[in-house]
C-alpha cells in the first residue's frame, strides 16, 4: 500500500523550513491558483467537502461540513480560524514534525482555509513545550509576510489575512477546542458548555473554526491537486487522503509514517517501510491505536485492522490522533493503565465534579492494585467509578477519554487484573517473579 509521500514529501530535505525551498518545490501554488484563478471561498469549501477530508485532530469530523456550520449572517462579527497545534495526546508527535520541518505547507493550508471561511485573522495555538516549533512557525510567517502571502491584499487580490502564533502554557485540556478558545482568550483553560458550538459562538464571541495542523496541511494538497485526486487515496470514500501515523512502543523502528488512510495495523507494525516488527522478537500483547484516550486492542484484534476512522470504530476504539502505542508481552497491563490514569488525573481541568474527583480516584485504586494492595472488589469498583464519570456526566469528553484505557484494559485483560489482586504482584514485567530480574 505504499505510495509517494504527500504530507512528508519535503520533510528531511535540506532547509525544508525555508520559503525559497518551498517555492522551488511549487509551494504556495494552491494559494496562487485560488487567489488569481477566480476561485470563490465557497468553491474552496466545496472542494474540501468533495475530498472527503476528515479532521486529523482526533474526532474525524468532515472538515468541509464543519466549515459550513459558520452562520451565513455573522451579524457583523468576524470569523476566526484557529489552528490547533496543541498536540498533547500521549503518543502523538506528527503535528510537531509538520510544523518544525515544513511550516509553509501548513501556513498555505491555513491561508486557504481562512479564505474559504472569509476570515481576516487566524491564530495558531501551539503547545507551550513546542518552543522550537513556535520559532520555526514565526520565522515562516515572517517570510510569508515578506513574500506577500500574508498581510494586506495577498497576491494582489482583495483577500487580506494575518496569522498570530499563541503559545499555550502546558495543559492537555487546551487541545479540546473550547478549552483552547478559553485559553486563547486569556482565561483558565477549561472547556465550555456546548451549545453554543464554536462555529456559532467561539473565540471573542465570534464564529470560530478550529482545525488541526495535519488537517490544514491536507487542505493545501486538496486545493493543489484536486478533491478527486485526494479522495482516491485511502481505503474507501469515507476514509480518504494521506495520513500520518505515530508509531511508538516496543517496535524496531518507531516514528512518524505516512500512508494512505486505512493502512493495515499489521503492516504498520511489521512492514519493511514502517515499524519492521517487534523489538527482540517479542509478541504483541496490546496496542493503543489512537492515543491515550482510545480503547486498547489485543493482539487478536489487530488482525485485519485498517487504521482509519471507521475501521477502528468498528472495533470499539478510535483512530483519534493516530498515535499507535505498541505494548509487548512483557508489559504489565495494570501498570500501563495506571500510567495512563495518572496522566488523566494530572490533566483534568477540575471544573466538573465527576472528572475532578473521579480521575484521581481511578489512579489511586489502580496504583493500589499495581502496588500489590488490591482487593477482590477493586476491579468491579474501577468499572463502577468509570461508568459514573462518562456519557454526559461532564461538560467535555475528557472523562470519557480517561476511562477508555481503564475499561478496555479490564475488559480485555481481566485475568491479569485478577492475578494482581490474588497474587499481590504483576503477571509479567519487572514486578513479576516469573521474569528473572537482570542486573
Amino acid at each position: 500500500m505504499t505510495s509517494e509521500p504527500v504530507l512528508l514529501a519535503r520533510v528531511g530535505r535540506d532547509r525544508s523550513q525555508a520559503i525559497d525551498t518551498y517555492l522551488a518545490d511549487g509551494g504556495y501554488g494552491a494559494l496562487k491558483k485560488v487567489l488569481t484563478g477566480g476561485w470563490t471561498p465557497e468553491a474552496v469549501t466545496e472542494e474540501v467537502k468533495k475530498s472527503g477530508l476528515r479532521g486529523r485532530g482526533g474526532a474525524g469530523f468532515p472538515t468541509g461540513v464543519k466549515w459550513g456550520f459558520v452562520p451565513k449572517d455573522t451579524k457583523g462579527k468576524p470569523v476566526y480560524l484557529l489552528c490547533n497545534a496543541d498536540e498533547s495526546e500521549p503518543g502523538t508527535f506528527k503535528d510537531r514534525l509538520l510544523m518544525e520541518e515544513d511550516p509553509h505547507q501548513m501556513l498555505e493550508g491555513q491561508i486557504l482555509s481562512a479564505y474559504a471561511l472569509k476570515c481576516r485573522t487566524s491564530y495558531i495555538y501551539i503547545r507551550g513545550e513546542f518552543f522550537h516549533g513556535a520559532r520555526v512557525l514565526q520565522r515562516a510567517i515572517d517570510e510569508a509576510y515578506e513574500k506577500g502571502f500574508l498581510g494586506e491584499n495577498i497576491l494582489g487580490s482583495r483577500f487580506s489575512h494575518d496569522i498570530t502564533v499563541h503559545r499555550g502554557a502546558g495543559a492537555y485540556i487546551c487541545g479540546e477546542e473550547t478549552g483552547l478558545i478559553e485559553s486563547l482568550e486569556g482565561k483558565r483553560g477549561q472547556p465550555r458548555i456546548k451549545p453554543p458550538f464554536p462555529a456559532v459562538v467561539g473565540v471573542f464571541g465570534a464564529p470560530t473554526i478550529v482545525n488541526n495542523v495535519e488537517t490544514l496541511c491536507c487542505v493545501t494538497h486538496v486545493v493543489n491537486r484536486g478533491a478527486d485526486w485526494f479522495a482516491k487515496i485511502g481505503r474507501n470514500e469515507k476514509n480518504t487522503g494521506p495520513k500520518l501515523y505515530c508509531l511508538s512502543g516496543h517496535v524496531n523502528r518507531p516514528g512518524v509514517y505516512e500512508a494512505p488512510m486505512g493502512l493495515q495495523m499489521k503492516e504498520l507494525l511489521f512492514g519493511e517501510d514502517y515499524g519492521r516488527g517487534m523489538k527482540d522478537g517479542r509478541k504483541v500483547k496490546a496496542v493503543i491505536p489512537g492515543g491515550a484516550s482510545a480503547a486498547m486492542l489485543t493482539a487478536k484484534e489487530i488482525e485485519d485492522c485498517p487504521l482509519d476512522f471507521d475501521g477502528l470504530a468498528a472495533k470499539k476504539s478510535m483512530l483519534g490522533s493516530a498515535a499507535i502505542i505498541v505494548m509487548n508481552e512483557d508489559t504489565c497491563i495494570v501498570d500501563a493503565a495506571t500510567n495512563l490514569a495518572k496522566f488523566f488525573s494530572h490533566e483534568s481541568c477540575g471544573q466538573c465534579t465527576p472528572c475532578r474527583e473521579g480521575t484521581p480516584w481511578l489512579h489511586r485504586v489502580l496504583s493500589r492494585i499495581e502496588g500489590g494492595d488490591g482487593r477482590a472488589e477493586d476491579v468491579e469498583l474501577l468499572e463502577k467509578i468509570s461508568n459514573q464519570m462518562a456519557n454526559g456526566m461532564t461538560i467535555c469528553v475528557f472523562s470519557d477519554a480517561a476511562i477508555a484505557p481503564v475499561l478496555s484494559s479490564i475488559e480485555k485483560f481481566r485475568d491479569e487484573y485478577r492475578y494482581h489482586v490474588e497474587n499481590k504482584r504483576c503477571l509479567v514485567g519487572p514486578r513479576a517473579e516469573a521474569i528473572p530480574v537482570t542486573a
Partner: protein, 551 residues
C-alpha cells in the same frame, strides 16, 4: 419616561415544559431548575445561583430529556417549548448518587465542627440524594496552608471543605465586580483562593460566604458562635443606611447573632454589604437599662411612667410660661415611620412647629438590586420616612441647625432617639442642646447626649420592635420584632405613646399597626401602606418622591 404600550398577546407567550409527565406553563428566559421549582419539583444543585452566570460544573442537576440519549445538566439545557424532562428515573437517581459520592470522597465530613451544618447544601443533598456509604477509603485530600485561613477582613476559607462550585468566584467577578477570587491549580488539586494573596476585601465580601453552599467560606464574626438551627429568623431591614436592605435578624433568646440578606429583587436582591451585615453585633449593646431622672445634680433611677410624666410636666409648664414655641422635638432617621409620626403628632398636639430630624451623611454605600445599583448616602435607614412624617421645621419655626449654630435656644428638648447622629456624641453640639433648661432623650446606648440629659428613657433596639422604614427609593418596608426588649426598656413608639397620652393625645392600646392605620389616613403617599403590602417586599410610597437632601 413614557408609559410602555401593553405588549400584544402574542408576546406574553409562555412555554410548556413537561416534568415527569406533568405539563406546566413557565415564562421564557428561565432555566430548567427554576422551571422545575415552579412545578414544585426540586432539582438538586450546587453551582447554579439565580443571579450568577451558569457554569454547569457541579453536575448535580442532571436530568433526562426525552429524545436526548445522554443525561443532561438542567442548568445548561436551553429551555424550549414542549421539552419533556424526567427527574425521577433510575438513571437520574444513579447520576445524583454518583455525584454525591464524588463530592464527598474528599470532603472532610466534619459537620460536627462546621458552622455551615444545618444550612449546608452538601449535607442536604447528601441526605436527599446520596447513598448511605462511600466506597472510598483512601486518604482524603488536604490543602495544607489553605485551611482555616482569613482571606479578607471577614471571610475565613477552609479549602478542604470546598466543592469547587465557583459561586464565590462568580460573585466577586459578576456582582461585586472586583474579581478577588480565582481557581488555582487544576484537576483534583483545584482550589479557590485570592489572586496573589491579595485580600478578599470588597464591600460585600461576606456575600461570598453566603453563596458558598458548604463550609468552605464562613465569616469570622459568626464562626463558632451558634449552631444555625438554634437561631430564630425574623424579617427586618438593615439599619446601616437609607438603601434599606432586607435582612433577616437571627437571634437566640435575646442575643442577635447575625444578619443575613433576605431576598428582595427590587432592593438588595440576594446581597448585603459588610458594613450593614456586621452592625448585627451593635444591636446587643445596652448601656441604658433603666429610666433616669436628674434632680438638681443627682441622677436617680425612676420607673418609666414617672420619667415620662416628668417630661410631660416640663412640656406643660413650658407651654404655660413661654408657649409651645420654646419646645423642640427632634426625631430620628433611626426611628420608624410610626415613631416619627407619633412625635410629629405630639408636636402638633401641643402646637409646636419646632421639629426636625437629622442624620449624618455617610459614605455612599452601593447595593446591587436585580436590575440596578442603588446608592445610599445617609447613615440612618429612615431619613426619607422621617421627613415624610413631617419632621421638618414648620413655617417660621426653628430646626436643629438653628440650635446647633446657636441662633436659637429652646427651653425643652425632646430627642426621641439619642443616637440620631454623630452630633449626639459631639460635646460642642451636645452643649448647644444642653443649653435648654430641660433635655429628655430615649436611648439604648450611652453617649454625650444621654450623659447630659435630664431624663433618659430606656429604649428598644431594632430587633426588639416593629415598624416600617422608607428607603432612598421611596419604598416602605417592614421590620418585625425578633424578641422583646428587656424590661423596663420599651420600643420608642411605646415611650412616645406614653408621652402623648400624658399630654392628652393618643391611646395607650395602640400598636404599630394602629399607628400605621393613622399614617394611611393622614400622610400623603402612604394611603396604601398595609400589612399585606408590606409583607410582600414593601411598596413604593405614592407621589413625587423628593430625594433626601443634605442637612
Amino acid at each position: 419616561m413614557s408609559t410602555p404600550a401593553p405588549p400584544p398577546a402574542a408576546e406574553k407567550k409562555t412555554l410548556t415544559i413537561v416534568f415527569d409527565g406533568k405539563p406546566i406553563e413557565v415564562p421564557p428566559g428561565i432555566n430548567l431548575i427554576e422551571a422545575a421549582k415552579l412545578a414544585g419539583i426540586e432539582i438538586p444543585h450546587f453551582c447554579f445561583h439565580p443571579r450568577l452566570s451558569v457554569v454547569g460544573q457541579c453536575r448535580m442537576c442532571l436530568v433526562e430529556i426525552e429524545g436526548i440519549p445522554k443525561i443532561q445538566a438542567a442548568c445548561t439545557t436551553p429551555i424550549k417549548d414542549g421539552l419533556a424532562v424526567k427527574t425521577t428515573t433510575e438513571k437520574v437517581r444513579q447520576s445524583r448518587a454518583a455525584n454525591m459520592e464524588f463530592l464527598l470522597i474528599n470532603h472532610p465530613l466534619d459537620c460536627p465542627i462546621c458552622d455551615q451544618a444545618g444550612e449546608c447544601k452538601l449535607q442536604d443533598n447528601a441526605f436527599g440524594y446520596g447513598e448511605q456509604r462511600s466506597r472510598y477509603d483512601e486518604r482524603k485530600r488536604q490543602y495544607a496552608g489553605y485551611d482555616r485561613t482569613m482571606i479578607g477582613p471577614h471571610v475565613v476559607a477552609d479549602m478542604t471543605r470546598c466543592i469547587q462550585c465557583t459561586r464565590c468566584i462568580r460573585f466577586c467577578e459578576e456582582i461585586a465586580g472586583t474579581g478577588e477570587l480565582t481557581f488555582l491549580d487544576r484537576g483534583g488539586r483545584t482550589l479557590v483562593w485570592t489572586h496573589d494573596g491579595k485580600p478578599l476585601a470588597n464591600d460585600w465580601s461576606a456575600c461570598a460566604a453566603d453563596v458558598c453552599p458548604v463550609g468552605a467560606l464562613t465569616t469570622k464574626e459568626f464562626r463558632f458562635r451558634r449552631r444555625v438551627w438554634e437561631l430564630k429568623k425574623t424579617p427586618s431591614v438593615c439599619p446601616g443606611c437609607n438603601i434599606g436592605c432586607n435582612i433577616s435578624i437571627e437571634n437566640r433568646d435575646s442575643v442577635v447573632y447575625r444578619f443575613l440578606p433576605r431576598l428582595n429583587p427590587a432592593v438588595n436582591d440576594y446581597w448585603l454589604c459588610d458594613y450593614g451585615r456586621f452592625l448585627s453585633e451593635s444591636l446587643n449593646a445596652r448601656d441604658v437599662s433603666k429610666a433616669t431622672v436628674r434632680h438638681a445634680s443627682e441622677v436617680r433611677d425612676a420607673v418609666v411612667p414617672a420619667a415620662v410624666e416628668r417630661i410631660a410636666s416640663e412640656i406643660r409648664s413650658t407651654i404655660e410660661t413661654e408657649g409651645p414655641s420654646a419646645i423642640f422635638f427632634l426625631g430620628s432617621a433611626h426611628l420608624s415611620n410610626e415613631e416619627n409620626f407619633l412625635l410629629r403628632k405630639i408636636a402638633d398636639h401641643v402646637g409646636c412647629g419646632n421639629r426636625d430630624v437629622v442624620v449624618d451623611r455617610s459614605r455612599v454605600r452601593r447595593m446591587k438590586s436585580k436590575t440596578e445599583w442603588i446608592e445610599g448616602d445617609h447613615a440612618g435607614a429612615n431619613y426619607a420616612g422621617a421627613r415624610d412624617m413631617g419632621l421638618s421645621p414648620g413655617p417660621g419655626a426653628h430646626g436643629l441647625a438653628d440650635v446647633l449654630e446657636g441662633k436659637w435656644t429652646p427651653q425643652v428638648v425632646v430627642a426621641a432617639d439619642a443616637s440620631f447622629a454623630a452630633a449626639a456624641d459631639d460635646p460642642e453640639k451636645v452643649g448647644r442642646l444642653r443649653s435648654a433648661r430641660f433635655l429628655a432623650v430615649a436611648a439604648r446606648t450611652e453617649n454625650a447626649l444621654t450623659r447630659a440629659a435630664d431624663v433618659v428613657l430606656p429604649a428598644a433596639s431594632l430587633a426588639q420592635k416593629e415598624g416600617s422604614f422608607t428607603n432612598v427609593q421611596g419604598r416602605v418596608q417592614w421590620f418585625q420584632r425578633a424578641f422583646l426588649a428587656p424590661p423596663p426598656a420599651r420600643a420608642h413608639w411605646d415611650l412616645l405613646l406614653l408621652l402623648g397620652v400624658a399630654l392628652g393625645w393618643g391611646d395607650r392600646t395602640w400598636t404599630p399597626a394602629d399607628i400605621r392605620g393613622r399614617i394611611r389616613e393622614e400622610v400623603e403617599g402612604y394611603d396604601e401602606v398595609t400589612e399585606e403590602e408590606l409583607a410582600g417586599g414593601g411598596l413604593m410610597r405614592k407621589g413625587l418622591f423628593v430625594s433626601t437632601g443634605a442637612v
